[in-house]
């Protein structure tokens, strides 16, 4: 019994300490943001690494998700004779929910794991130590541009996911199922609100981008500097970031759309 309590206590202390460390780490990294303004090239490089290089997987997934949404939506709507609303169903699902969430999950798997592995290996090969000895703060030079790059790239990826998804839905609905093209677009235009739907979706994806990248860079920076340590950290990034995205999505959805 005592042993169990001891383990429980040690576990809780361990988690609390790590959470604390993660927040202190974030504070130091944010301190490096103002210094990035005159050297925005560093951030651009990271937007390319985590954003542009994730484009293919995000676009392809978006296309298929949109196509499936149209198929499934059609089957339900056709019973009510409301297939003209298919455009609204597809676009609202994508813009409000699936765009930000699925893109963030893909982002965690594609870019988050890469960030953790990169920073973890930089630590293991003493590159971060070498920077410190060259009087360059690695939190400002290495971590800050990656965090900001992730925050900027994520909403763009989510937007592309939604846009490609809507196109996929259009091909299936109009091309395959024979839904009226004019109705598909005009209903969408009438029902999707710029602030209520699109802005809230963008806010979600900014929050997800921030959290996923924060977890990824922290896990890399905090990794045990061995091959095993880096591999564990990479796994943790994907698991923790995905769970965080899903949990936060519920909270954000409740806050944004809970009172409708």
């Amino acid at each position: 019994m005592t042993a169990f309590l001891q383990r429980l206590g040690a576990g809780t202390l361990g988690i609390t300490e790590r959470v604390g460390r993660g927040h202190l780490f974030l504070l130091h990294v944010l301190g490096g943001f103002p210094g990035l303004l005159p050297r925005f090239g560093l951030v651009m490089k990271q937007i390319y690494a985590s954003g542009v290089l994730s484009l293919l997987i995000v676009a392809v997934s978006g296309l298929f998700v949109g196509m499936v949404l149209a198929l499934q939506g059609y089957n339900t709507l056709v019973d009510f004779g409301a297939t003209e609303s298919l455009g609204v169903v597809v676009s609202l699902s994508l813009v409000r929910e699936l765009g930000p969430v699925v893109a963030a999950l893909l982002f965690a798997g594609r870019a988050g794991s890469a960030l953790t592995a990169e920073i973890g290996l930089m630590k293991a090969t003493e590159q971060l130590s070498a920077m410190e000895m060259m009087a360059v703060n690695p939190l400002h030079r290495v971590v800050a541009p990656r965090l900001l790059g992730g925050i900027i790239a994520m909403p763009l990826l989510a937007a592309i996911f939604s846009a490609v998804g809507i196109l996929g839905g259009y091909f299936v609905a109009v091309g395959l199922l024979g839904v009226d093209e004019g109705a598909f677009w005009s209903q969408m235009q009438a029902k999707v609100d710029l602030y209520e739907d699109i802005a809230n979706g963008v806010i979600k994806s900014v929050v997800f981008g921030f959290v996923v990248t924060w977890i990824a860079v922290f896990e890399g920076y905090d990794a045990v500097p061995t091959s095993e340590g880096v591999s564990r950290a990479t796994t943790r990034t994907v698991v923790h970031a995905s769970l965080a995205v899903l949990g936060l999505d519920f909270i954000l959805t409740a806050l944004m759309f809970g009172d409708e």
């Binding site: 590159q127 070498a130 410190e132 000895m133 060259m134």
Partner: protein, 267 residues
């Protein structure tokens, strides 16, 4: 002897249960080449990290250029580090940058020199280590020895007052070894550099060092000029200098009796 650039007094440092340094006093003179020697695992690299302020001593003090390193706030520590260079054991080159950009890195971070001047400076440093022609290569394309030479060029890029070399000779072929040994000596003399070298290559170290510290088991076992060290009567120092397997220093990590260990039941 010139004044000390690094002054270490009563240094204690432990990693968990393991005591690495148990009250060490050391003076690294300005403008000289000092070698710190000792068997593997005696904490030579740890000592360099303590001097560079990456680790904090448990007790005692490390003074660099008259400033107590462990008491410095991070801004002041970073300012002090601009006056030191360090060559890491494996080079620690930034793998996403080319050889040229690696050497240019400290210049770009700390100066606002025009691109032309940066190029000239980088090529001069690379020429000194014989790798001007390798400027376009990426670190992954370099051998271990070449990577260490690029790292050396990077360590002296800002013309620091002191450079710390962590095992500079390991993995060098005989030709680059010879060049590197004389380069270290010439750098020290020509730039008035305070050089601190950690090594267990006895002959190379003794041939160029002005002063030598030998450490083992957390203590300074012997120190003096290479000539004085060769004359040392300490059996420990003689065993180390001549690389004998038999002597006061055990080759084996502490272990139970060999025979009893082999005959014991497997767990």
């Amino acid at each position: 002897m010139p004044e000390a650039w690094v002054r270490i007094r009563g240094l204690h440092y432990a990693r968990g249960e393991q005591v690495i340094f148990d009250g060490i006093d050391m003076d690294i003179p300005r403008g000289r080449l000092t070698a710190i020697m000792g068997p593997s695992g005696t904490g030579k690299t740890t000592l360099l990290r303590l001097i560079g302020g990456q680790l904090r001593p448990d007790a005692g003090s490390v003074e660099v250029a008259g400033q107590n390193v462990s008491a410095l706030r991070s801004k002041a520590l970073y300012r002090l580090r601009q006056r030191m260079g360090m060559l890491f054991q494996n080079g620690a080159l930034l793998t996403d940058l080319s050889v040229f950009e690696n050497v240019a890195f400290p210049l770009r971070e700390h100066t606002r020199l025009p691109e032309r001047m940066i190029r000239d400076l980088v090529l001069m440093k690379l020429h000194a280590v014989g790798l001007r022609g390798a400027r376009e290569l990426m670190p992954a394309q370099l051998s271990g020895g070449m990577a260490r030479r690029v790292a050396l060029a990077r360590a002296i890029a800002l013309d620091p007052e002191m450079v710390m070399f962590d095992e500079p000779f390991t993995g060098q072929d005989p030709i680059s070894l010879g060049v590197l040994v004389s380069l270290l000596r010439r750098l020290t003399d020509a730039l008035g550099l305070t050089s601190l070298m950690v090594s267990h290559d006895v002959q190379e170290s003794l041939s160029i060092a002005d002063y030598v510290y030998v450490i083992s088991e957390g203590q300074v076992v012997e120190h003096g000029t290479p000539a004085a060290l060769r004359r040392s009567t300490s059996p420990w120092v003689q065993q180390f200098l001549q690389g004998q397997s038999d002597g006061p220093v055990p080759f084996h990590y502490p272990a139970p009796d060999y025979r009893a260990d082999l005959l014991a039941e497997a767990p």
